[in-house]
Amino acid sequence: MTKVVHHEQIADKIYELTFEGEMVTDMVEPGQFLHIRVGDQYMPLLRRPISICDVDFDRKQCTILYRAEGEGTLLLSQKRKGDRLDVLGPLGNGFPLDTIAEGETAVLIGGGIGVPPLYYLSKKLVERNVRVVHVLGFASKKDAFYADAFEQLGTTAVTTIDGTLGYQGFVTDYMKQEAPAYDVLYSCGPTPMLKAIEEQLNPDRAYFSLEERMGCGIGACFACVCSVKDDPTGHRYRKICSDGPVFPQGVIQL
């Protein structure tokens, strides 16, 4: 059990929650997620998978960002400082850090509520002397968050679909037009965005973090499976919760 130490709204429907607990010491891998029980009752029943946005090992604190939109996340948004929070995790496999060398450049592309795990990833990459470039896509200015925080770590471009902030268009439009040079691409966001990145940018080295409705979050229930590419039998699959949520490009049929 952990304790909420900070909770505030930082953009339209977007909340930043920091909790404190011993379990935080295990959160060494960016891209892993937490399975959070939003209430004490059985409505809603299931936990909510939410990515790790930042970790402070000295204070044993972890920060998550989430969009309060459904029944579960709206209930989570009611939590106050001092409340107990039932957190399971860290779960899944995060972004591999050893696949990029010191001095190389990483481009981190986030879409909407897929942006948060990239913050912790960026911090870890910077620690390893990797140059980081961020491209953060949002629907509109009111939905945007953490642009300044990312700016502290490396060059940061914001794109909005309606053009109310930064570059107007999708992250893929920006990437094609501005064409920042990079060695490895890391991305998290809606599956159509990941698919567009894979098809339109065709990166050599890339890692995608996927999302899906989950049941158990530990690989037992088979709710969040996805198909693998080039699978003539139709029987091969990966579980997003326990095999992912991060996969190298080319593995999953996006």
């Binding site: 029980r37 059985y42 409505m43 809603p44 029943l45 299931l46 936990r47 029944e71 579960g72 399971l88 899906e212 409705r213 989950m214 049941g215 158990c216 979050g217 530990i218 690989g219 037992a220 229930c221 088979f222 709710a223 969040c224 499976v225 996805c226 198909s227 139709g234 029987h235 699959y237 326990s242």
Partner: protein, 310 residues
Amino acid sequence: MSRFDIQLPGLNMKNPIMPASGCFGFGREFSKLYDLSGLGAIAIKATTDEPRFGNPTPRVAETPGGMLNAIGLQNPGLEKVVAEELPFLADYDVPILVNIAGTTTEDYVAVARTVSKAPNVTALELNISCPNVKEGGITFGTDPSVAAELTRAVKEVSEVPVYVKLSPNVADITEIAQAVEAAGADGLAMINTLLGMRIDLKSEKPVIANRTGGLSGPAIKPVAIRMIYEVSQRVSIPIIGMGGITSADDVLEYFLAGASAVAIGTANFVNPFVCPEIITELEERLTEKKIGHISELVGRSWKSCYSPSS
């Protein structure tokens, strides 16, 4: 002597708690969290003759006090289960109940014949109640004579006792229960999920890709209790009760209804430590309530009141 060791056909249990099939995979994930030898038994995920990928996603949706699922019996197939999954579980001192499924009688028979020979398999759970596959599954579980015929065919080849897992999606569950008992079933497992659906207001389409799914969780507990109450008065074989159990008190309620052991399903997704927690809590409740042995409670809700009405 423990207050809650249970001896059922093929299941020599240290306590009456087992994880339900489909909610525990093949045990690997949970083995990283706690010692599986502490469980009363383990019901592993449905096994079919050939590997199955299952249904498209989304496969789950929440509902008030419950969830719908339409996984579609995803499993690596008989060969892999026998070669990889069962040997893994052999390291634990716990009886294994293998849930078997298929499309045809021949499929069920083939799986039963092979899997019942595996050294650590102590019982089979005949899945004639999965609502999420187009063929087989529930089609075997809604007609008493079809269910009985399948039970007989599987009993003929199985080297271990056979429990039949019943579907609640029938007009009269006692009829099916009595039919499979007469066909030689060693026990019953009840209930499987209730067929349900949720429609998304934005897309105006069913939330689950399979359209319908099986409802589980606390929402279905009263249905299961009622059915076990009815069935336990009509059959003499033991019943493994399941449906929405989240606490030791729920376990006691199932015993009072007529169950002789219970399975915990959906609650494993909410709290992966729920099985060991309930085992500990149950022992405390039995002490508190001064119950010598939990089996004293079986069917007490009807035994002490009146004889079954016809």
